[in-house]
Symmetry: C2
Subunit: 248 residues, 2 copies
């Protein structure tokens, strides 16, 4: 459809015109052996700071690949400042949440343990790998931060000033999500989605007592936690985020 | 949280007070052996027509179970009239689409073949089984209709009068989804989501020439087809559907 390279990789190194980038064993394997990129192949690179750059595969060894950075394809741009706080669920669905939240433009994923959270451990490294792949494929310029898992009350105790928190309230206490979001002030925000068993009453009361928190409702049906996450993020981007503007 | 029965089954038979229902081998196995329901256990039943009823397990054989219908828990109620037209994707993601679209209240799923659809067959029976399970768990009163797969142009040629069609336009030609939906007239609607490779130019042109069709945009990132489906359905329910009203 356009002439931009289709291969897209997230790297940690700085990006600037004429620079060189050496891929480690894993990315080199992907590029050379999975995608079978020939010498001279174009690759798009981004690091979350310097925009997106076109690079060319210059030399390849057995366990590494060297790229020459040629030109800037897109400058780094502001993105919605939206955190996702979610109670960990079993592996397949948590992978799914990490993938979809990345596509939907979340800036940070914060796993939170609640009273009824069945999971006791989260593999943050695994979530980061999924987020990187989703960022590469969705043409994001950043990878969302994967925060270490923490107890919900600890996260709320540390809450930064000026960030609104929308809590998905399954008990029916919230106003409809479109009503709340369309009246919300712009600025840093977070979505909080509880575990499959819902929040404990004491947790709900604690969140609702916070001045920065607003409960929102997602209609009459019972949604799985992963469905609720996606639905809430989509509504946020549509009403408050970067889906409000026509594409260029 | 409440005293309504937690076991919930979709059946085909009519439901009325004092009636009896005999479950077939598969549902009986689920109820008796998977869920280990004892004699006298309460089960909620719905058939998509007569509302939701409380029933009680009265007798069980090796391959069947008999239930006595006791009282109506919820009357049948109107639901949003929203079709999902989607290009089939590979198995794991199509299963996911069927599950999530059911939770999100779609009334009919219509797989459509497009020029760039990689799949050539859809297992509608399998999608129906997934939709039934999702309806049972999401406390829907209906199961969405699974339509036989058809070519997109055939579906559009048969389009019913008065039903609006929102097409997810990845080329950036659509207005932002919240803008379009918040101005849309109420009434029967459909969402059309193309294949991973996007619509062919000729398909896009054909859809856009239809008076009932409107292109909508889902922001600057590239979304997988399954993500786009969920996001669009959530935005519809939030802005035009049954998420607009507070829970009772």
């Amino acid at each position: 459809m356009d002439d931009s390279p289709k291969l897209r990789l997230f790297i940690e190194a700085p990006l600037a015109e004429g620079g060189t980038v050496t891929l480690g064993a894993e990315q080199a394997h992907y590029l050379l052996h999975v995608m079978r990129a020939p010498a001279g192949a174009q690759v798009a690179l981004f690091n979350g700071r310097d925009g997106e750059w076109q690079a060319r595969l210059a030399d390849s060894g057995k366990r590494s690949a060297g790229l020459v950075v040629e030109r800037c394809l897109r400058p780094q741009a502001a993105e919605p400042d939206l955190w996702l706080l979610f109670a960990p669920v079993k592996r397949q669905r948590i992978d799914f949440i990490a993938e979809k939240a990345t596509e939907l433009g979340v800036s940070a994923l914060q796993p939170v343990f609640t009273r009824r959270t069945a999971m006791t451990r989260v593999n943050e490294q695994r979530l980061r790998a999924i987020a990187i792949e989703a960022a590469e494929q969705s043409e994001r310029l950043t990878v969302p931060e994967i925060r270490p898992s923490r107890a919900l009350d600890m996260v709320l105790a540390d809450w930064p000033a000026g960030r609104r928190l929308f809590m998905l309230d399954e008990t029916g206490g919230g106003r409809p999500i479109a009503e709340v979001l369309s009246r919300a002030e712009r600025g840093p925000a977070a979505m909080l989605v509880g575990p499959e068993g819902g929040f404990a009453k004491s947790e709900l009361d604690a969140v609702l007592s916070l001045a920065f928190a607003r409960p929102v409702g997602l209609g009459p049906r019972i949604l799985r936690a992963d469905t609720a996450v996606l639905a809430a993020l989509a509504c946020f981007q549509a009403l408050c985020g970067d889906w409000r503007h026509p594409a260029e």
